[in-house]
Protein backbone atom coordinates (compact mmCIF):
# COMPACT_ATOMS: atom_id res chain seq x y z
CA UNK A 1 0.00 0.00 0.00
CA UNK A 2 2.81 2.35 0.99
CA UNK A 3 4.57 1.76 -2.33
CA UNK A 4 1.34 2.48 -4.23
CA UNK A 5 0.91 5.76 -2.34
CA UNK A 6 4.49 6.80 -3.17
CA UNK A 7 3.97 5.83 -6.84
CA UNK A 8 0.73 7.86 -6.92
CA UNK A 9 2.50 10.92 -5.46
CA UNK A 10 5.36 10.62 -7.96
CA UNK A 11 2.90 10.22 -10.85
CA UNK A 12 0.92 13.32 -9.81
CA UNK A 13 4.08 15.41 -9.45
CA UNK A 14 5.41 14.21 -12.81
CA UNK A 15 2.15 15.08 -14.56
CA UNK A 16 2.13 18.52 -12.89
CA UNK A 17 5.68 19.13 -14.20
CA UNK A 18 4.63 17.95 -17.65
CA UNK A 19 1.75 20.45 -17.55
CA UNK A 20 4.17 23.18 -16.55
CA UNK A 21 6.46 22.27 -19.45
CA UNK A 22 3.53 22.59 -21.86
CA UNK A 23 3.19 26.22 -20.69
CA UNK A 24 6.94 26.73 -21.30
CA UNK A 25 6.41 28.16 -24.79
CA UNK A 26 4.54 31.13 -23.29
CA UNK A 27 7.34 31.68 -20.79
CA UNK A 28 9.95 31.55 -23.54
CA UNK A 29 7.96 34.09 -25.57
CA UNK A 30 7.92 36.47 -22.59
CA UNK A 31 11.67 35.96 -22.08
CA UNK A 32 12.43 36.53 -25.77
CA UNK A 33 10.38 39.74 -25.77
CA UNK A 34 12.20 40.88 -22.64
CA UNK A 35 15.58 40.29 -24.34
CA UNK A 36 14.40 42.11 -27.45
CA UNK A 37 13.30 45.07 -25.33
CA UNK A 38 16.77 45.26 -23.80
CA UNK A 39 18.32 45.06 -27.26
CA UNK A 40 16.12 47.85 -28.66
CA UNK A 41 17.08 50.04 -25.70
CA UNK A 42 20.74 49.37 -26.39
CA UNK A 43 20.15 49.97 -30.10
CA UNK A 44 18.72 53.40 -29.25
CA UNK A 45 21.85 54.31 -27.28
CA UNK A 46 24.23 52.93 -29.93
CA UNK A 47 22.40 54.70 -32.75
CA UNK A 48 21.41 58.02 -31.25
CA UNK A 49 24.00 58.64 -28.52
CA UNK A 50 27.08 56.88 -29.88
CA UNK A 51 26.08 57.51 -33.53
CA UNK A 52 27.25 54.04 -34.54
CA UNK A 53 26.40 53.03 -38.12
CA UNK A 54 23.24 50.92 -38.16
CA UNK A 55 24.93 47.67 -39.08
CA UNK A 56 27.45 48.01 -36.25
CA UNK A 57 24.70 48.96 -33.79
CA UNK A 58 22.59 45.93 -34.78
CA UNK A 59 25.58 43.62 -34.35
CA UNK A 60 25.69 44.53 -30.64
CA UNK A 61 22.15 43.27 -30.06
CA UNK A 62 19.90 40.19 -29.84
CA UNK A 63 20.73 37.28 -32.20
CA UNK A 64 17.76 38.32 -34.37
CA UNK A 65 19.30 41.78 -34.78
CA UNK A 66 22.65 40.26 -35.61
CA UNK A 67 20.91 38.16 -38.26
CA UNK A 68 19.39 41.34 -39.76
CA UNK A 69 22.82 43.01 -39.69
CA UNK A 70 24.27 40.03 -41.52
CA UNK A 71 21.55 40.29 -44.18
CA UNK A 72 22.15 44.02 -44.68
CA UNK A 73 24.61 45.22 -47.29
CA UNK A 74 27.97 45.79 -45.62
CA UNK A 75 29.47 49.27 -45.40
CA UNK A 76 29.57 50.83 -48.87
CA UNK A 77 33.31 50.35 -49.19
CA UNK A 78 32.81 46.61 -49.25
CA UNK A 79 29.42 46.28 -50.95
CA UNK A 80 29.73 43.34 -53.32
CA UNK A 81 27.85 43.30 -56.60
CA UNK A 82 25.84 40.25 -55.55
CA UNK A 83 24.50 41.93 -52.40
CA UNK A 84 20.85 42.89 -52.80
CA UNK A 85 20.06 46.53 -52.09
CA UNK A 86 17.86 47.63 -49.23
CA UNK A 87 18.17 48.58 -45.62
CA UNK A 88 17.12 46.96 -42.38
CA UNK A 89 13.51 46.47 -43.54
CA UNK A 90 14.52 44.44 -46.58
CA UNK A 91 17.12 42.55 -44.52
CA UNK A 92 14.44 41.70 -41.93
CA UNK A 93 12.11 40.35 -44.61
CA UNK A 94 14.91 38.11 -45.87
CA UNK A 95 15.86 36.91 -42.38
CA UNK A 96 12.36 36.54 -40.88
CA UNK A 97 11.60 33.06 -42.22
CA UNK A 98 14.71 31.45 -40.75
CA UNK A 99 14.41 33.32 -37.46
CA UNK A 100 10.77 32.31 -36.93
CA UNK A 101 11.24 28.68 -38.05
CA UNK A 102 11.56 25.89 -35.47
CA UNK A 103 14.94 26.22 -33.76
CA UNK A 104 15.33 29.85 -34.91
CA UNK A 105 16.09 32.70 -32.49
CA UNK A 106 12.47 33.90 -32.63
CA UNK A 107 10.60 30.59 -32.97
CA UNK A 108 8.59 31.26 -29.78
CA UNK A 109 7.20 34.59 -30.98
CA UNK A 110 3.74 35.08 -32.44
CA UNK A 111 2.96 36.65 -35.82
CA UNK A 112 1.92 39.79 -33.95
CA UNK A 113 5.34 39.99 -32.25
CA UNK A 114 7.13 39.48 -35.56
CA UNK A 115 5.03 42.20 -37.21
CA UNK A 116 5.98 44.59 -34.39
CA UNK A 117 9.65 43.86 -35.11
CA UNK A 118 9.03 44.34 -38.83
CA UNK A 119 7.56 47.77 -38.11
CA UNK A 120 10.76 48.65 -36.26
CA UNK A 121 13.10 47.50 -39.01
CA UNK A 122 11.13 49.25 -41.77
CA UNK A 123 12.66 52.70 -41.88
CA UNK A 124 15.35 52.00 -39.30
CA UNK A 125 18.34 54.21 -40.03
CA UNK A 126 16.71 55.89 -43.00
CA UNK A 127 15.97 59.29 -41.45
CA UNK A 128 17.39 61.85 -39.05
CA UNK A 129 17.86 61.37 -35.33
CA UNK A 130 14.53 62.93 -34.31
CA UNK A 131 12.51 60.58 -36.51
CA UNK A 132 14.60 57.59 -35.44
CA UNK A 133 13.92 58.48 -31.81
CA UNK A 134 10.16 58.40 -32.54
CA UNK A 135 10.47 55.08 -34.40
CA UNK A 136 12.45 53.46 -31.59
CA UNK A 137 10.15 54.81 -28.88
CA UNK A 138 7.14 53.43 -30.77
CA UNK A 139 8.82 50.04 -31.10
CA UNK A 140 9.67 49.97 -27.39
CA UNK A 141 6.07 50.79 -26.48
CA UNK A 142 4.77 48.02 -28.77
CA UNK A 143 7.23 45.47 -27.42
CA UNK A 144 6.47 46.44 -23.81
CA UNK A 145 2.74 45.95 -24.44
CA UNK A 146 3.40 42.58 -26.08
CA UNK A 147 5.67 41.54 -23.24
CA UNK A 148 3.07 42.49 -20.63
CA UNK A 149 0.54 40.42 -22.58
CA UNK A 150 3.01 37.50 -22.83
CA UNK A 151 3.84 37.69 -19.10
CA UNK A 152 0.15 37.58 -18.19
CA UNK A 153 -0.50 34.70 -20.56
CA UNK A 154 2.56 32.81 -19.28
CA UNK A 155 1.39 33.17 -15.67
CA UNK A 156 -2.15 32.06 -16.49
CA UNK A 157 -1.16 29.16 -18.72
CA UNK A 158 1.55 27.98 -16.37
CA UNK A 159 -1.01 27.82 -13.54
CA UNK A 160 -3.65 26.19 -15.76
CA UNK A 161 -1.43 23.50 -17.27
CA UNK A 162 0.27 22.72 -13.93
CA UNK A 163 -3.12 22.23 -12.29
CA UNK A 164 -4.43 20.17 -15.22
CA UNK A 165 -1.29 18.04 -15.18
CA UNK A 166 -1.52 17.51 -11.44
CA UNK A 167 -5.20 16.53 -11.69
CA UNK A 168 -4.52 14.17 -14.58
CA UNK A 169 -1.70 12.56 -12.59
CA UNK A 170 -3.93 12.26 -9.55
CA UNK A 171 -6.72 10.62 -11.61
CA UNK A 172 -4.25 8.12 -13.05
CA UNK A 173 -2.93 7.38 -9.58
CA UNK A 174 -6.46 6.77 -8.24
CA UNK A 175 -7.14 4.43 -11.15
CA UNK A 176 -3.92 2.56 -10.50
CA UNK A 177 -4.71 2.21 -6.81
Amino acid sequence: MMLRLIAAAILSAACALAGRAVAGACVRRAQALSQLLGSVQRLRVDMLDKLLPLREALQNGHPAMRAVAAEMAPMPAAMPAAMPAGGAGAAWRRARGALAARGGALDCLTAQDLDALGALFDGLGESGAAQQRILLSGALENLEALKAQADKKAREESKLYTTLGFLAGLSLAILLM
Binding site: M47, P53, P76, A129
Partner: protein
Amino acid sequence: MLDDFPLLRDRLPDDGTLTEVRLRIGQPVEVRMASGGRLVGPEVTRQELDELLLQMTGYSIYACEERIRQGFFTLPEGHRVGLTGRYASDKGGVVGLTGALSMCIRVARAIPGAADPLMPRLIEGGRLKSALILSPPGLGKTTMLRDAARQLSLKGYRVALADERGELAAPAAGGLPTMALGPRCDVATGADKAQLIERLVRSMAPDVVVTDELGGEGDARAVYEAACAGVAVLASAHAADFPSARRKRGLAPLLEDGPFEVFAVLGGAPGRIVEIVDARGGRA
Protein backbone atom coordinates in the same frame (compact mmCIF):
# COMPACT_ATOMS: atom_id res chain seq x y z
CA MET B 1 35.13 51.49 -54.63
CA LEU B 2 32.57 53.86 -56.10
CA ASP B 3 31.51 51.38 -58.77
CA ASP B 4 30.35 49.00 -56.04
CA PHE B 5 27.25 51.18 -55.77
CA PRO B 6 24.60 49.78 -58.13
CA LEU B 7 23.72 53.22 -59.55
CA LEU B 8 27.33 53.96 -60.48
CA ARG B 9 28.25 50.46 -61.60
CA ASP B 10 29.21 50.35 -65.30
CA ARG B 11 29.12 54.15 -65.57
CA LEU B 12 32.61 54.96 -64.27
CA PRO B 13 35.94 54.63 -66.08
CA ASP B 14 38.13 51.90 -64.61
CA ASP B 15 41.49 53.32 -65.64
CA GLY B 16 42.09 55.22 -62.38
CA THR B 17 41.65 58.67 -63.93
CA LEU B 18 38.29 59.48 -62.33
CA THR B 19 38.33 62.77 -60.39
CA GLU B 20 34.68 63.63 -59.87
CA VAL B 21 31.15 62.28 -60.33
CA ARG B 22 28.08 64.51 -60.34
CA LEU B 23 24.50 63.28 -60.10
CA ARG B 24 21.46 65.44 -60.65
CA ILE B 25 17.84 64.29 -60.60
CA GLY B 26 16.51 64.10 -64.16
CA GLN B 27 19.97 64.32 -65.74
CA PRO B 28 22.55 61.75 -66.82
CA VAL B 29 25.53 61.12 -64.56
CA GLU B 30 28.40 63.55 -65.19
CA VAL B 31 31.76 61.85 -64.94
CA ARG B 32 34.97 63.90 -64.86
CA MET B 33 38.45 62.60 -65.47
CA ALA B 34 41.79 64.40 -65.59
CA SER B 35 41.37 64.51 -69.38
CA GLY B 36 37.85 66.00 -69.36
CA GLY B 37 34.24 65.12 -68.63
CA ARG B 38 31.32 63.29 -70.20
CA LEU B 39 27.65 62.58 -69.53
CA VAL B 40 26.67 58.96 -69.00
CA GLY B 41 22.97 58.11 -69.34
CA PRO B 42 20.28 57.27 -68.44
CA GLU B 43 18.83 60.06 -66.28
CA VAL B 44 19.02 59.68 -62.52
CA THR B 45 15.66 59.42 -60.73
CA ARG B 46 14.82 60.79 -57.29
CA GLN B 47 14.44 57.24 -55.91
CA GLU B 48 17.86 56.27 -57.26
CA LEU B 49 19.55 59.30 -55.71
CA ASP B 50 17.80 58.72 -52.36
CA GLU B 51 18.80 55.04 -52.39
CA LEU B 52 22.40 55.93 -53.27
CA LEU B 53 22.50 58.36 -50.35
CA LEU B 54 21.21 55.63 -48.02
CA GLN B 55 23.78 53.15 -49.32
CA MET B 56 26.59 55.67 -48.96
CA THR B 57 25.67 56.34 -45.33
CA GLY B 58 25.32 52.60 -44.62
CA TYR B 59 21.57 53.15 -44.07
CA SER B 60 22.57 55.41 -41.17
CA ILE B 61 21.29 58.86 -42.09
CA TYR B 62 20.99 59.75 -38.37
CA ALA B 63 24.75 59.23 -37.93
CA CYS B 64 25.61 61.58 -40.82
CA GLU B 65 22.82 64.08 -40.23
CA GLU B 66 25.00 66.93 -39.00
CA ARG B 67 27.47 66.51 -41.86
CA ILE B 68 24.64 66.30 -44.39
CA ARG B 69 23.21 69.49 -42.91
CA GLN B 70 26.58 71.16 -43.47
CA GLY B 71 26.58 70.00 -47.08
CA PHE B 72 28.91 67.04 -47.31
CA PHE B 73 30.11 63.83 -45.73
CA THR B 74 33.00 61.49 -46.42
CA LEU B 75 32.95 57.89 -47.59
CA PRO B 76 35.23 55.35 -45.89
CA GLU B 77 37.73 55.63 -48.78
CA GLY B 78 38.00 59.39 -48.21
CA HIS B 79 35.83 60.44 -51.17
CA ARG B 80 33.91 63.61 -50.35
CA VAL B 81 30.20 63.52 -51.11
CA GLY B 82 28.70 67.00 -51.47
CA LEU B 83 24.94 67.43 -51.44
CA THR B 84 22.51 70.16 -52.23
CA GLY B 85 18.78 70.40 -52.64
CA ARG B 86 15.83 71.54 -50.59
CA TYR B 87 16.86 72.75 -47.15
CA ALA B 88 14.70 73.34 -44.10
CA SER B 89 15.56 76.41 -42.08
CA ASP B 90 14.52 77.80 -38.74
CA LYS B 91 15.48 81.00 -36.94
CA GLY B 92 17.86 81.94 -39.71
CA GLY B 93 19.81 78.68 -39.64
CA VAL B 94 19.69 75.52 -41.74
CA VAL B 95 18.15 72.68 -39.73
CA GLY B 96 18.35 69.96 -42.34
CA LEU B 97 18.39 68.84 -45.94
CA THR B 98 14.88 67.57 -46.63
CA GLY B 99 15.44 66.42 -50.20
CA ALA B 100 18.71 65.92 -52.05
CA LEU B 101 18.59 67.10 -55.68
CA SER B 102 22.27 66.96 -56.63
CA MET B 103 25.29 65.07 -55.45
CA CYS B 104 28.96 65.73 -56.19
CA ILE B 105 31.45 62.99 -55.38
CA ARG B 106 35.07 64.11 -55.34
CA VAL B 107 37.42 61.19 -55.61
CA ALA B 108 40.17 61.00 -53.01
CA ARG B 109 43.44 59.58 -54.18
CA ALA B 110 46.78 59.10 -52.52
CA ILE B 111 49.52 60.42 -54.81
CA PRO B 112 52.92 59.61 -53.36
CA GLY B 113 55.22 62.51 -54.10
CA ALA B 114 52.39 65.08 -54.39
CA ALA B 115 54.07 67.16 -51.68
CA ASP B 116 57.61 66.91 -53.11
CA PRO B 117 57.73 70.56 -54.26
CA LEU B 118 56.62 71.70 -50.82
CA MET B 119 58.86 69.56 -48.63
CA PRO B 120 62.10 71.58 -48.99
CA ARG B 121 60.19 74.67 -47.77
CA LEU B 122 58.81 72.91 -44.71
CA ILE B 123 62.07 71.86 -43.10
CA GLU B 124 64.89 74.30 -42.48
CA GLY B 125 67.95 73.01 -40.67
CA GLY B 126 65.88 70.24 -39.12
CA ARG B 127 63.29 72.74 -37.87
CA LEU B 128 59.73 72.38 -39.06
CA LYS B 129 58.05 75.50 -40.37
CA SER B 130 54.31 76.10 -40.18
CA ALA B 131 52.78 76.28 -43.64
CA LEU B 132 49.42 77.04 -45.18
CA ILE B 133 48.40 75.70 -48.61
CA LEU B 134 45.97 77.98 -50.46
CA SER B 135 43.91 77.14 -53.53
CA PRO B 136 40.41 77.12 -54.97
CA PRO B 137 38.51 73.82 -54.57
CA GLY B 138 39.64 70.83 -56.59
CA LEU B 139 43.31 71.66 -57.02
CA GLY B 140 44.79 69.06 -54.72
CA LYS B 141 45.20 70.69 -51.31
CA THR B 142 44.05 67.60 -49.44
CA THR B 143 46.19 65.26 -51.55
CA MET B 144 49.25 67.46 -50.95
CA LEU B 145 48.58 67.68 -47.20
CA ARG B 146 48.14 63.92 -46.94
CA ASP B 147 51.40 63.26 -48.74
CA ALA B 148 53.24 65.89 -46.69
CA ALA B 149 51.99 64.20 -43.52
CA ARG B 150 53.21 60.85 -44.82
CA GLN B 151 56.63 62.21 -45.79
CA LEU B 152 57.11 64.03 -42.47
CA SER B 153 56.09 60.88 -40.62
CA LEU B 154 58.64 58.86 -42.64
CA LYS B 155 61.33 61.44 -41.88
CA GLY B 156 60.86 60.83 -38.15
CA TYR B 157 58.55 63.67 -37.12
CA ARG B 158 55.56 62.94 -34.89
CA VAL B 159 52.58 63.93 -37.01
CA ALA B 160 49.08 64.53 -35.62
CA LEU B 161 46.23 64.62 -38.09
CA ALA B 162 43.18 66.68 -37.05
CA ASP B 163 40.92 65.13 -39.65
CA GLU B 164 37.44 66.48 -38.95
CA ARG B 165 35.66 64.65 -41.76
CA GLY B 166 38.07 61.81 -42.38
CA GLU B 167 39.22 63.11 -45.78
CA LEU B 168 42.95 62.97 -45.02
CA ALA B 169 43.15 59.54 -43.41
CA ALA B 170 40.00 58.02 -44.94
CA PRO B 171 39.26 55.92 -41.86
CA ALA B 172 37.50 52.61 -42.42
CA ALA B 173 34.50 51.50 -40.35
CA GLY B 174 36.73 50.65 -37.38
CA GLY B 175 38.45 54.06 -37.51
CA LEU B 176 41.82 52.87 -38.84
CA PRO B 177 43.22 55.00 -41.69
CA THR B 178 43.05 53.46 -45.14
CA MET B 179 45.49 55.98 -46.63
CA ALA B 180 49.24 55.52 -46.23
CA LEU B 181 50.37 57.99 -43.57
CA GLY B 182 53.71 56.61 -42.46
CA PRO B 183 54.67 55.08 -39.12
CA ARG B 184 54.49 58.15 -36.88
CA CYS B 185 51.07 59.57 -37.61
CA ASP B 186 48.28 59.84 -35.05
CA VAL B 187 44.79 60.48 -36.37
CA ALA B 188 41.88 62.18 -34.63
CA THR B 189 38.62 62.34 -36.50
CA GLY B 190 34.88 62.80 -36.09
CA ALA B 191 34.78 66.11 -34.19
CA ASP B 192 35.26 69.79 -34.85
CA LYS B 193 38.85 70.40 -36.02
CA ALA B 194 39.56 73.10 -33.42
CA GLN B 195 38.72 70.63 -30.65
CA LEU B 196 40.73 67.90 -32.34
CA ILE B 197 43.81 70.17 -32.60
CA GLU B 198 43.52 71.08 -28.92
CA ARG B 199 43.26 67.43 -27.86
CA LEU B 200 46.06 66.24 -30.14
CA VAL B 201 48.47 68.87 -28.85
CA ARG B 202 47.61 67.98 -25.28
CA SER B 203 47.56 64.21 -25.60
CA MET B 204 50.01 63.24 -28.34
CA ALA B 205 52.84 65.83 -28.04
CA PRO B 206 53.23 66.06 -31.83
CA ASP B 207 55.95 67.87 -33.77
CA VAL B 208 53.39 68.98 -36.33
CA VAL B 209 49.61 69.15 -36.54
CA VAL B 210 48.14 68.66 -40.01
CA THR B 211 44.62 69.82 -40.77
CA ASP B 212 42.47 70.61 -43.80
CA GLU B 213 40.40 73.66 -44.71
CA LEU B 214 40.86 76.27 -42.01
CA GLY B 215 38.15 78.88 -42.08
CA GLY B 216 36.40 79.57 -38.80
CA GLU B 217 37.56 81.76 -35.97
CA GLY B 218 37.69 78.71 -33.71
CA ASP B 219 40.13 77.08 -36.14
CA ALA B 220 42.36 80.16 -36.03
CA ARG B 221 42.35 80.14 -32.24
CA ALA B 222 43.26 76.43 -32.12
CA VAL B 223 46.11 76.97 -34.61
CA TYR B 224 47.46 79.85 -32.47
CA GLU B 225 47.36 77.73 -29.37
CA ALA B 226 49.14 74.83 -31.07
CA ALA B 227 51.84 77.23 -32.30
CA CYS B 228 52.19 78.73 -28.81
CA ALA B 229 52.74 75.20 -27.51
CA GLY B 230 55.68 74.87 -29.93
CA VAL B 231 53.90 72.65 -32.43
CA ALA B 232 54.23 73.39 -36.16
CA VAL B 233 51.00 73.54 -38.13
CA LEU B 234 50.52 72.38 -41.70
CA ALA B 235 47.10 73.34 -43.00
CA SER B 236 45.10 74.29 -46.05
CA ALA B 237 42.43 76.86 -46.82
CA HIS B 238 40.22 77.88 -49.72
CA ALA B 239 41.57 81.00 -51.43
CA ALA B 240 42.53 81.83 -55.00
CA ASP B 241 45.73 83.59 -53.94
CA PHE B 242 47.44 85.25 -51.02
CA PRO B 243 45.62 88.65 -51.28
CA SER B 244 42.21 86.86 -51.43
CA ALA B 245 43.11 84.85 -48.35
CA ARG B 246 43.94 88.08 -46.53
CA ARG B 247 40.41 89.32 -47.19
CA LYS B 248 38.75 86.26 -45.62
CA ARG B 249 37.60 87.04 -42.11
CA GLY B 250 38.47 83.65 -40.62
CA LEU B 251 41.91 83.58 -42.23
CA ALA B 252 43.02 87.22 -42.02
CA PRO B 253 44.29 87.09 -38.41
CA LEU B 254 46.31 83.97 -39.18
CA LEU B 255 47.90 85.62 -42.19
CA GLU B 256 48.54 88.98 -40.59
CA ASP B 257 50.03 87.83 -37.34
CA GLY B 258 49.83 84.06 -37.34
CA PRO B 259 52.24 81.22 -36.93
CA PHE B 260 52.55 80.44 -40.64
CA GLU B 261 55.94 81.09 -42.18
CA VAL B 262 55.23 79.62 -45.60
CA PHE B 263 52.20 80.02 -47.85
CA ALA B 264 51.96 77.78 -50.91
CA VAL B 265 49.43 78.80 -53.55
CA LEU B 266 48.17 76.08 -55.93
CA GLY B 267 46.78 76.88 -59.35
CA GLY B 268 46.55 75.95 -62.99
CA ALA B 269 46.38 72.20 -62.54
CA PRO B 270 45.88 69.87 -59.58
CA GLY B 271 48.91 69.83 -57.31
CA ARG B 272 50.83 72.58 -59.14
CA ILE B 273 52.40 75.19 -56.83
CA VAL B 274 52.28 78.53 -58.61
CA GLU B 275 53.63 80.69 -55.83
CA ILE B 276 55.29 80.36 -52.46
CA VAL B 277 54.90 83.40 -50.24
CA ASP B 278 56.54 84.17 -46.92
CA ALA B 279 54.76 85.57 -43.88
CA ARG B 280 55.16 89.15 -45.06
CA GLY B 281 53.47 88.38 -48.37
CA GLY B 282 56.71 88.49 -50.36
CA ARG B 283 57.82 85.73 -52.67
CA ALA B 284 59.90 83.21 -50.79
